[in-house]
């Protein structure tokens, strides 16, 4: 498997008056061309920060404190802003959480498409216009809306327009930061279907961040679960979804209803994620974990390989396997491939 993007030991810290706080802690991941990788986790677990660090869009007080982001053979962490500019958008584009704020409110769509293309050396007005109309139609928006301002579009259309903009150069990788979270469930689903369809049609890879595990699980090839700045589980979507190997993933799955399985009470995860400036000494999930045992509070678990899935839980350590009382409930009744 060739890799398009390889993130190694990437760490990001926010500088605060009380010293740096690590929001992304030694994250490793690789994305193959055309792959759809989902990243899920609660708010504040560092998933958006991770995306911004990969795209080199961090702003003070956040900064990359270590690791590398190798994209198309170049380490973006060490590249200068000038050296990065040609790669941006041509090879790697970003779709942000709220299209409401991510489009310049005082410029028409046509102008925002045009200055993107001009920034990458496309000067021919007719070519710019033609390409802008093409990508708009790709996402199902009438070309007449090129003359519209962002506020004249509905939330769903704005989000589509953003995706259209992200596809101007048909990049190899599109980074998406919760692009659907501002939409209602019906619009969410149709947008997801469209993203998947475009991805299959154009062949770009997607790095998709969301807090909605059920949404992404129908579309992603692999799933990465983050908690308190760390990867806690990473594997193929089907495996993670059917047999979550980490109690946190299990908790996320139990927090939304299954459509076809047996009726059962929904279980939330008690408590809130720990403050990143005062992390528990052992496993970061230990204070909220329903299956924790004494060693969890003192020992920091590494990532264990469980049948191809990485899981950061001491239960998978042979030394503590006696604690594994199989509290996990299987969700095999659910279908993952509803697409």
């Amino acid at each position: 498997m060739s890799t398009l993007l390889e993130v190694t030991d990437l760490s990001v810290a926010y500088d605060t008056p009380n010293g740096p706080v690590t929001a992304v802690d030694h994250v490793n991941l690789a994305v193959a061309p055309g792959e759809f990788l989902g990243i899920v986790g609660e708010s504040g677990c560092g998933k958006s920060t991770l995306l911004f660090a990969i795209a080199q869009l961090l702003r003070a007080p956040a900064r990359t404190t270590g690791g590398s982001v190798v994209f198309r053979g170049q380490d973006m962490v060490t590249m200068s802003a000038r050296a990065l500019a040609p790669t941006r958008w041509r090879n790697l584009s970003v779709v942000m959480q709220s299209a409401m704020n991510a489009l310049n409110p005082v410029a028409r769509l046509s102008a925002q498409f045009a200055d993107t293309m001009q920034a990458h050396g496309v000067r021919d007005k007719a070519a710019i216009r033609e390409r802008s109309e093409q990508v708009l139609e790709l996402v199902g928006i009438d070309r007449a809306h090129l003359a519209s301002y962002p506020h004249q579009l509905s939330g769903g259309m704005r989000q589509r327009a953003m995706i259209a903009m992200a596809l101007l150069f048909t990049p190899e990788l599109v980074i998406m930061d919760e692009p659907t979270s501002a939409l209602d469930v019906v619009a969410q689903r149709s947008l997801m279907l469209q993203i998947k369809e475009l991805q299959q049609q154009l062949g770009f890879a997607v790095l998709f961040v969301t807090h909605d595990m059920s949404l992404v699980s129908h579309f992603s090839d692999r799933l990465m679960v983050m908690y308190a700045g760390e990867v806690v589980e990473f594997g193929s979507t089907r495996q993670v979804f059917d047999h979550p190997a980490h109690p946190y993933s299990q908790g996320l799955l139990d927090a939304f209803p299954s459509i076809r399985g047996e009726r059962k009470a929904l279980v939330g995860i008690p408590g809130t994620p720990p403050s990143l400036s005062a992390l528990p000494p052992g496993c970061r999930f230990e204070p909220r974990c329903p299956v924790s045992f004494a060693e969890c509070a003192t020992t920091r678990p590494p990532l264990y390989d469980v049948d191809g899935v990485l899981s950061r839980c001491l239960l998978h350590d042979p030394a503590y396997s006696s604690h594994a009382t199989t509290p996990t409930t299987s969700r095999e009744g659910d279908d993952v491939d509803r697409t």
């Binding site: 005082v106 993107t116 301002y149 506020h151």
Partner: protein, 328 residues
């Protein structure tokens, strides 16, 4: 189109209300300003002037109030404000027209320069927060903006006029021994006379623009569309101007229009300090001499310019901010 018509309609209604207030306020005051003036000038005012005064004030007591009101409106709209007492027997309109260019030139130009330069410095300061520009200019100009006009004027006179043995003039708008007109010597002289007054206005008014613009830019930089623009690989300079400044300047436009509206009333203190022959100086002498026709004309003029400035600001905002156009 509907937007323009609505704003114009609003302008006309406001103007009418302002003129009406200007008409009724003098007659709500006890006594009669025209008679008060007669008493003060002890007959030095000829009956013709008194008549003009009465017409201007609508004090023709024989006529019914409504007729006076209509006459007043007609006179005001055609620019007949009567005869000035300070500059007797010149028509008020003429007197005002003499002073207006000086104020428009000095205060008007300086206000525009202050806004443009302040916005520019503010943009750079906000863009490179805690950079060199940001750590020096905003604090300095915020301090100068708190100083009184006349004090700054006096210091400037002391240092750059008296201290340089009169290299820069400190009195009046031009040297009376020169030929007034479009010749090089006169224009240079007018510019020289304008340096110190305009510098003192700049020193005081620029700080506000710098500070507000800087803060607007800092807030705007946190917006997603700035991050987006960076992700798109758009050059920094273009992001600063087309994305950050373009959005950050919007809240400042109405403030700018308001300050344009007050250009005509002049910077009374500055014009007084430098004996500058502008509207502010004239308003001051009109008040000192109880020159009611001149005062009334100046008040109408100030009202109209404020209204026009607000109108311009509305159009400007609509032009720069598409959201305003459709919201109304």
């Amino acid at each position: 189109m509907r937007f323009i018509l609505r704003r114009l309609g609003f302008f006309v209604v406001t103007l009418w209300v302002a003129l009406t207030v200007n008409f009724f306020v003098p007659r709500l005051m006890p006594g009669n300003p025209a008679e008060a003036m007669m008493a003060r000038y002890k007959g030095r005012v000829n009956p013709e002037a008194l008549k003009a005064l009465e017409v201007a004030f609508g004090l023709d007591t024989q006529k019914p109030l409504l007729v006076q009101y209509v006459e007043y409106l007609g006179n005001t709209l055609t620019g007949h404000f009567g005869i000035s007492l300070t500059f007797f027997p010149t028509q008020v309109g003429k007197v005002v027209l003499q002073a207006l260019p000086w104020t428009l030139g000095l205060v008007g130009l300086t206000t525009v320069i202050a806004f443009v330069v302040g916005t520019l410095i503010g943009t750079i300061g906000g863009w490179r927060r805690n950079g060199i520009v940001d750590s020096i200019l905003p604090p300095v100009f915020v301090i100068t903006s708190a100083l009184p006009y006349f004090w700054v004027g006096l210091i400037l006179i002391l240092v750059f006029s008296l201290g340089t043995n009169g290299a820069l003039p400190n009195d009046g708008g031009y040297d009376p021994i020169l030929d007034a007109g479009w010749n090089g010597a006169f224009i240079v002289d007018v510019l020289k006379h304008a340096v110190l007054p305009s510098v003192s206005i700049l020193l005081i008014s620029i700080g506000g623009w710098i500070l507000t613009m800087r803060n607007n830019v800092v807030t705007t930089l946190a917006e997603d569309y700035i991050t987006m623009a960076r992700a798109k690989g758009i050059p920094d300079r273009k992001i600063m101007i087309h994305y950050a400044a373009r959005n950050a300047v919007l809240p400042n436009l109405s403030g700018f229009a308001m300050s344009l509206g007050f250009v005509v009333s002049g910077s009374i203190l500055v014009e007084y300090t430098f004996n500058y022959p502008g509207v502010g100086y004239m308003l001051l002498s009109a008040v000192n001499n109880q020159d009611y026709p001149l005062m009334q004309a100046l008040f109408v003029l100030i009202t109209v310019t404020v209204l026009v400035a607000v109108l311009i600001s509305d159009f400007l905002t609509a032009w720069l901010d598409p959201r305003v156009r459709t919201a109304s």
